[in-house]
Assembly symmetry: none
Homo-oligomer: 205 residues x 2
């Protein structure tokens, strides 16, 4: 726990209302929304409650901005993902909660729109840190930068390779391994297609 002070019943109700609004609408309520919900006739009434909640350390507000209410979140480990602990300086602080730098979370890390993943088989990309059985996260789409790692479809098979444009209509698919050779492919090859760019890797031991 942190420095949060106790709330009155009404204040707790207001806090819960704000929380439910964020959950439902993904957006905090306005001062007047709160007033309406509790049959408070003046926005000041609701504003007073917000001032209290802020003073007691339950929310933060951004003055002058609509819906500028943020909940001060407490450690809800299950929902958030895996805590990221920072570099440690001395003693055993790696176990301390205060050292949390953020949380690992799929949605936050990779986004979820238009992404998919493929399990890699083979070690042709091992020097790039992509090993057998790893999962790669792929951004669907056919555009890429020279030298990026992509998932390419060739003759019905999917491969993960680094891609380079050799010239106007010729690509080089470059493995990252001593045991594999680059492949070359014409851009207009009928059975060739870029499925997407690799934006992440996930491995479980």
């Amino acid at each position: 726990m942190t420095t949060k002070q106790d709330l009155t019943k009404k204040q707790r109700a207001v806090y819960e209302y704000i929380r439910s609004c964020i959950e439902e609408n993904k957006c905090p309520p306005t001062v007047r929304d709160i007033a309406d919900h509790f049959n408070i006739k003046s926005p000041k009434g609701a504003s007073d409650h917000l001032a209290m909640l802020e003073r007691k350390g339950w929310i933060t507000r951004t003055p002058g901005i609509s819906r500028g209410v943020h909940l001060v979140k407490e450690e809800e480990e299950g929902e958030e993902g895996i805590p990221i602990l920072g570099k440690v300086a001395a003693g055993h602080p790696i176990l301390a909660q205060e050292n949390v730098m953020g949380h690992l979370n799929f949605a936050q890390l990779f986004g979820l729109q238009d992404r998919f993943s493929v399990q890699v088989s083979g070690d042709s990309m091992e020097k790039a840190g992509i090993h057998d059985h790893d999962y790669v996260i792929v951004q669907r789409g056919s555009d890429f930068q020279d030298g990026e790692i992509v998932v390419a479809l060739m003759d019905g098979e999917a491969t993960v390779k680094r891609i380079y444009k050799e010239n106007a209509n010729r690509y080089r698919l470059q493995p990252e391994s001593d045991r594999h050779l680059p492949q070359y492919v014409e851009a207009d090859h009928p059975d060739f297609r870029i499925a997407g760019r690799v934006v992440g890797v996930v491995r479980r031991y």
Copy 2:
């Protein structure tokens, strides 16, 4: 899939920006926030994009109220995680939904109990596919199998290394890189401790 029409590059960027705002601030941006972010001088420019996104079925708006933007969510990907597409046999089935073999999900993949993560700095484990800036997922605890990768605390510094028991009270911390040498440490060294076993790796490009 629903009735969503294709977006232009700019529209997609605007949509992504809105998504990132909601993720960060738990609150959609205002029209002017969008305009500012894309260096659009008039709120109308941003508003036009929103109108497009709404017409094409990607967002909904509540007229007249601030930040009245809602993303139209598709198939609850947030809950499930990122779909894993399998090996493909022919044609272009990698884009087909039927090929989904499962879903990548932190909770499912790593569990969440007693796990934390550390961002790796340095390349001492590059041959094990753990690169600079990667996140390693760590199972808290001091027991390990010989040859496993662990996070060790020494003199207040955390390092990721492969660990071997040399003899009764002596460990070898083995890097996986040509540019690093193994370290040896006494088991009863006062400033030495095993923070946990590495059970996973996550990387974002």
